[in-house]
């Protein structure tokens, strides 16, 4: 598909919107439907679209396997880290209330952070899975 001009141009036009939408879903999940998981999925799907149109190789230059490996771990570590932070600040594991003098604010911060962790790991996992499947082509 690398040679279809229409596809390439459309993809290029769409990409910013897909990624922007992913970010919107990520950060607006507190108020409307959405959250880290859905955002990660959309982000991953957008990237897969890019890889399909522009070829796996150029996609891999954008997101090398090593970086993906780091990102997969980083998201989970962020989540667990938030949990540990709760411990360190004198609460129970994953207690976000202690992050701020007013518990609800701390909660909001905690939710924001863990959703971010979810989004990162999900997106990176999706892309990794896709690369690994695509990398075993017939050739």
């Amino acid at each position: 598909m690398q040679r279809h001009l229409v596809l390439r141009v459309t993809t290029k036009l769409l990409m910013p919107f897909i990624l922007l939408f992913a970010l919107y879903v990520q950060f607006h999940g507190d108020f409307g439907p959405g959250g880290g998981f859905q955002a990660g999925m959309i982000f991953g799907a957008g990237f897969i679209l890019y890889a399909l149109v522009y070829g796996i190789d150029s996609a891999k230059r954008v997101a090398p396997a090593g970086a993906l490996r780091v990102l997969i771990s980083a998201g989970l570590l962020l989540y667990i880290g938030v949990g540990y932070a709760g411990l360190a600040l004198g609460g129970n594991f994953l207690d976000y209330g202690v992050f701020s003098a007013q518990a609800p604010k701390g909660q909001h911060l905690g939710i924001f952070l863990v959703e971010l962790g979810v989004g990162v790991t999900v997106a990176a996992t999706m892309v990794t899975v896709f690369f690994n499947f695509a990398g075993r082509g017939r050739d």
Binding site: R69, V70, I72, S73, A74, L76, L77, I80, G83, Y84, G86, L87, G91, N92, F93, L94, D95, Y96, G97
Partner: protein, 503 residues
């Protein structure tokens, strides 16, 4: 401060080590980290059990939300005991893993392998410790998914099909558990196990609850390889990497049995499970069938790993029998056997792993003359075999002795007889291995051995890093055959706790 958060640390320490292992990339560093984490987990488990024994059940509120709104960890004698078993096996298996895995897996997969292994350990511990029915499912899936991967890493291509079969069966089992939990939630409006236990008795007549009970039983039965649902297990154990087989054989089915116990006795309550549904009419025949059929099948296996895998299904039968009696003695027998069998079977599979390292195969024929070439490994196997049979002074004897007592208490001579017959069958299959190893001459040069790991045909003893863990487990199965106060004492308390209303 740390003591108060032990329940969370028990899970989170191994969990955090998993992504870190992946980040380290170097196999040896990842191994060192996993080792440290597994020992820390063992320490947590020991402290927790001690705390429970002296002060009673511990409750920990994750996220600081009170149950039933938040998720609660609840440790009592029963799961404290199971936690200790799982963590101990993890801590013993890891030192062993380094050489064995270096031999069986390519270098660049090591870090990811330890990641998967730590995830599996986390999942199993998480299933055991949690007091929330849905949280149980989530952690069950962590352990299941990682064990599918671990099994698929076996060198034979049949490992792949075995893993796929396990994936299908395991997913059906897990989905059944989800259906069961959903039905319970629909009937009561809560997911917390203690809360469920309080709300269920008034609805004992409800058909929804009965359906939930059936789905949970079948779902857990699939996971623990309860007799007619065991078809995934022999292949999965036979073709997985040695370390994985030893780890899973000693922990995964045990945790599933714990799930069954927890739902039967805590959530539904003794009155419901035994008086209303009369579970013993189901469990005892299944246990008997498992012992007789699978022990017999084991005799005809030529792959020793597969032989022991069938024997595992039979041993699950003993534990199920113990649960089926539903008396304090019966449950004690089930729980003690859970512990003893974890030590014995773990040790046996580790011994087999040593043979795989040197021979490349564990076909009966290739073991010929091994008694002289790998005396320590082979002797470990013999001792483990004796414990499997249930010879006095081994741990296996203790559990079978208590089980027979439980049978006789209820005047059930038939079951007592079955236990004896099972031991006789075990003698036959263990003897086949011993006969091959000690009484057949070692083949000279042996072109049939499919592995070139021992060039020049010289087969030497396995390295110490593998022998010591093997002997720790085998030694434990002797030690706990002589000093029974720890195992029997705790198991009896746990049994009484389960029957005493459960709460």
């Amino acid at each position: 401060m740390i003591a108060a958060h032990l329940p969370a640390l028990q899970i989170v320490v191994p969990l955090v080590s998993a992504p870190l292992c992946l980040l380290l990339r170097r196999g040896d560093l990842a191994w060192a980290l996993a080792l440290a984490a597994s020992w820390a987990a063992l320490g947590c488990a020991a402290l927790l059990l001690q705390q429970v024994l002296s002060t009673g059940p511990i409750s920990y509120q994750l996220g600081g939300w009170a149950p039933p709104w938040g998720i609660e960890y609840r440790i009592d004698v029963v799961n404290g005991f199971v936690l200790l078993i799982v963590a101990a096996i993890g801590a013993v298996v890891l030192p062993y893993a380094r050489v064995s895995i270096a031999h069986e897996l390519p270098e660049d997969q090591h870090a990811a392998f330890y990641t998967a292994l730590m995830l599996c350990l986390t999942g199993l511990l998480g299933v055991t410790i949690t007091g929330d029915a849905f949280n149980l499912f989530v952690f069950l899936e962590i352990s299941s998914l990682s064990s599918y991967v671990l099994i698929a890493l076996g060198r034979d291509r049949r490992a792949l099909t075995a893993a796929f079969q396990y994936l299908v069966m395991g997913t059906i089992g897990a989905t059944f558990i989800v259906i069961g939990v959903g039905l319970l939630y629909m009937a009561t409006g809560t997911l917390n196990m203690l809360d469920l236990a309080e709300r269920l008795p008034p609805m004992a007549e409800s058909r929804t609850v009965l359906a939930a009970f059936a789905f949970l039983t079948v779902g857990a039965g699939l996971k623990l390889a309860l007799f007619p649902l065991h078809f995934w297990l022999p292949n999965a154990y036979a073709y997985a990497p040695s370390v994985v087989t030893a780890f899973l054989a000693a922990t995964a089915t045990k945790v599933s049995i714990y799930i069954l116990l927890r739902f039967f006795f805590t959530v539904f309550g003794t009155a419901y499970s035994l008086e209303l549904v009369t579970l013993e009419n189901l469990l005892i025949p299944l246990g008997v069938a498992a012992i007789l059929v699978c022990s017999t099948v084991a005799i005809f296996q030529t792959n020793v790993k597969r032989m022991l895998a069938y024997s595992s299904v039979a041993q699950v039968g003993y534990m199920v029998l113990g649960i089926g009696f539903a008396s304090t003695t019966g449950l004690t027998a089930g729980l003690v056997h859970l512990f003893n069998h974890a030590m014995t079977k773990g040790g046996l599979f580790l011994a087999l792993g040593c043979m795989v390292l040197r021979l490349g195969s564990v076909q009966l024929d290739s073991l010929a003359g091994l008694g002289r070439r790998m005396p320590l490994t082979m002797f470990a196997f013999v001792v483990g075999g004796l414990s499997l049979i249930g010879v006095p002074l081994t741990a296996g004897f203790i559990s079978k002795w208590v089980l027979v007592q439980a049978a006789l208490e209820q005047g059930n001579w038939f079951v007592a007889g079955v236990v004896l017959v099972g031991s006789l069958l075990a003698i036959v299959y263990v003897w086949r291995v011993i006969e091959a190893a000690y009484f057949r001459p070692a083949p000279g040069g042996d072109p049939a051995a499919p592995n070139a790991a021992a060039p020049g045909g010289e087969i030497v003893e396995a390295p110490l890093s593998m022998l010591i863990p093997t002997w720790i487990l085998i030694g434990a199965s002797i030690y706990f055959g002589i000093h029974t106060s720890l195992t029997l004492g705790v198991a009896e308390r746990a049994a009484r706790f389960l029957l005493g209303g459960g709460a």
